[in-house]
């Protein structure tokens, strides 16, 4: 690891000013992904801005729903009474990710910035377009069991590894981004991007911006939420497929539904068409299977991950059955 410059900031305004001045600097919060990548020589920022002293660790209710500071810890939210009772999907998703120790380190902002776990991205001995643009995608015809089936491109088939992100995109979260000059609020769904022809970029965050808040609008999904994570061991493993399902039920009738998947795309993947199909329908195995079929439109696999084409719809059905208490 190079001996980078380290600067610890005490205020949001000074932090964004520093970012403005040094666009190649990286923010460090929990550090659990960035330090990992720096040890592997995948990222080598010459300047680190430590924002841990910033007053962004809160979780509180607002008129809109719940507002979560970018430095709130993943474990803090997962164990938070408000989140557990009103937004259990988020709590379940967070607890499905990483380990207790890492959830004690990972912040909301940091988890959003978590980079792919594609082994070619991590291993500098093999080509990777995300790490080194135009060097080639080793995963396309390589070991791609963990890789994407939706929205992939010829230059990158890596997936976003976060569980938290899957819940947040399902819950229609919004993100507040701040730079020295302005503040903007965007939909969480618009924060991450597909690889397209710029796989080196995971999201639409500008170099001079930082994440300050995540807002989750109030919803009525708390009685019918489920986060299913399918993986190679029963804990502490990245998702092969994950499904976040939130339902608002009126008897057996689905009033409102939110569905998203992890482990399938370069961004947390919302299943809009499947949601539209289920809206107003009865919760039933048959409808869930139909929704899963709709969700799978456009899916494409790459060899080792062919199984995801069957596992994904099956997982969608299972998550919906669990969320609707049918199984």
């Amino acid at each position: 690891m190079i001996n980078f410059d380290y600067i610890r900031m005490g205020s949001i305004s000074s932090a964004v000013k520093a970012l403005d001045k040094f666009p190649d600097a990286k923010i460090i919060a929990g550090g659990s992904n960035l330090i990992d990548l720096m040890k592997r020589n995948v990222m080598a920022p010459t300047k680190l801005i430590d924002i841990n002293p910033l007053p962004l660790k809160y979780i509180h209710t607002t008129k809109q729903g719940v507002q979560i500071g970018a430095l709130a810890l993943n474990s803090q939210a997962a164990d938070h009474e408000l989140i557990k009772t009103k937004y259990p999907l988020l709590s379940m998703a967070i607890n499905a990710g990483a380990s207790a120790q890492l959830r004690n380190m990972a912040t909301f902002g940091g988890n959003m910035m978590q980079r792919t776990r594609c082994s070619y991205f991590y291993d500098t001995t093999m080509p990777c377009n995300k790490r080194e643009p135009n060097s080639g995608c080793s995963a396309l015809t390589g070991i791609n069991r963990m890789h994407g089936i939706f929205g992939t491109s010829d230059v990158c088939i890596a997936v976003n590894p976060s569980d938290m992100n899957v819940a947040l995109v399902a819950l229609d979260a919004k993100v507040i981004l701040k730079s020295a000059k302005k503040e903007r609020t965007i939909a969480f769904a618009d924060f991450h991007k597909l690889a397209g022809d710029s796989p080196q970029l995971d999201n639409h965050l500008q170099k001079n911006e930082m994440i300050t808040d995540i807002i989750i609008p109030e919803n009525q999904f708390y009685n019918n939420s489920y986060y299913l994570k399918v993986r190679d061991r029963h804990s502490y493993a990245f998702a092969l497929i994950s499904v976040a399902a939130g339902l608002e039920m009126d008897g057996q009738n689905i009033k409102k539904v939110r569905l998203a998947m992890g482990g399938v795309a370069h961004k947390p993947w919302r299943l809009y068409d499947a949601e539209n199909f289920l809206q107003g329908k009865t919760a039933s195995l048959q409808n869930f299977e139909e929704a899963a079929k709709i969700a799978m439109k456009g899916a494409k696999s790459y060899g080792h991950n062919d199984f995801k084409l069957a596992l994904a719809p099956s997982s969608i059905v299972e998550a919906l059955l669990k969320a609707s208490h049918l199984s």
């Binding site: 660790k57 810890l73 380990s99």
Partner: protein, 212 residues
Amino acid sequence: MSDQKQPETQEKELICSSRRGFLKATTALTAIALSPSLITKAALQHADERLAAFFEKIPLNIEVNGKAYQMETEPRETLLDFVRERLHLTGTKKGCDHGQCGACTVHVDGIRVNSCLTLAVMQEGKKITTIEGIANGDKLHPMQEAFLKNDGFQCGYCTPGQIMSAIACINEGHANSPTEIREFMSGNICRCGAYPNIVDAIVEVKNGGMKL
């Protein structure tokens, strides 16, 4: 952790920087513009090594197992390497160095973290507890007793991390059933496979109801 938005009063713009000799809070932003390449160049040309070291290090005030340390650290030094190589507290183990095994688990202000994935410099003013800091003199911590009694280890290398994690697991309220314990202890890998005995040890301590 407070749920309320913390007041932004008394904000200091800049709290700390690795270019200390050149910094005052007001000139913070120009100061960090100093390219590290200058430093590197000086070092490469075997200019004054001590000068290079001076540039590279930051003062660190840290409390480890109740003892206050005033040290200096390179920003790139992890908390794990700091406690093992600088403080010679080798009870905290390096098993993967990438947050994938839990052998390096310590408590920072009472919270369990992987010390391999955090920088020592980020722990300014924090209280660190390692495996060496939980016994009361010769009297073992209840979790140490329980690991011993239940044979919750074999080679012993993951054990300090398991014990630190196990204490936190109970304190966090995630030890209410063997299933919950298994889930919330899964960040601590044991290659010898002592898992069932570790779970037994944690259940025993939890049922004992002792304050940890």
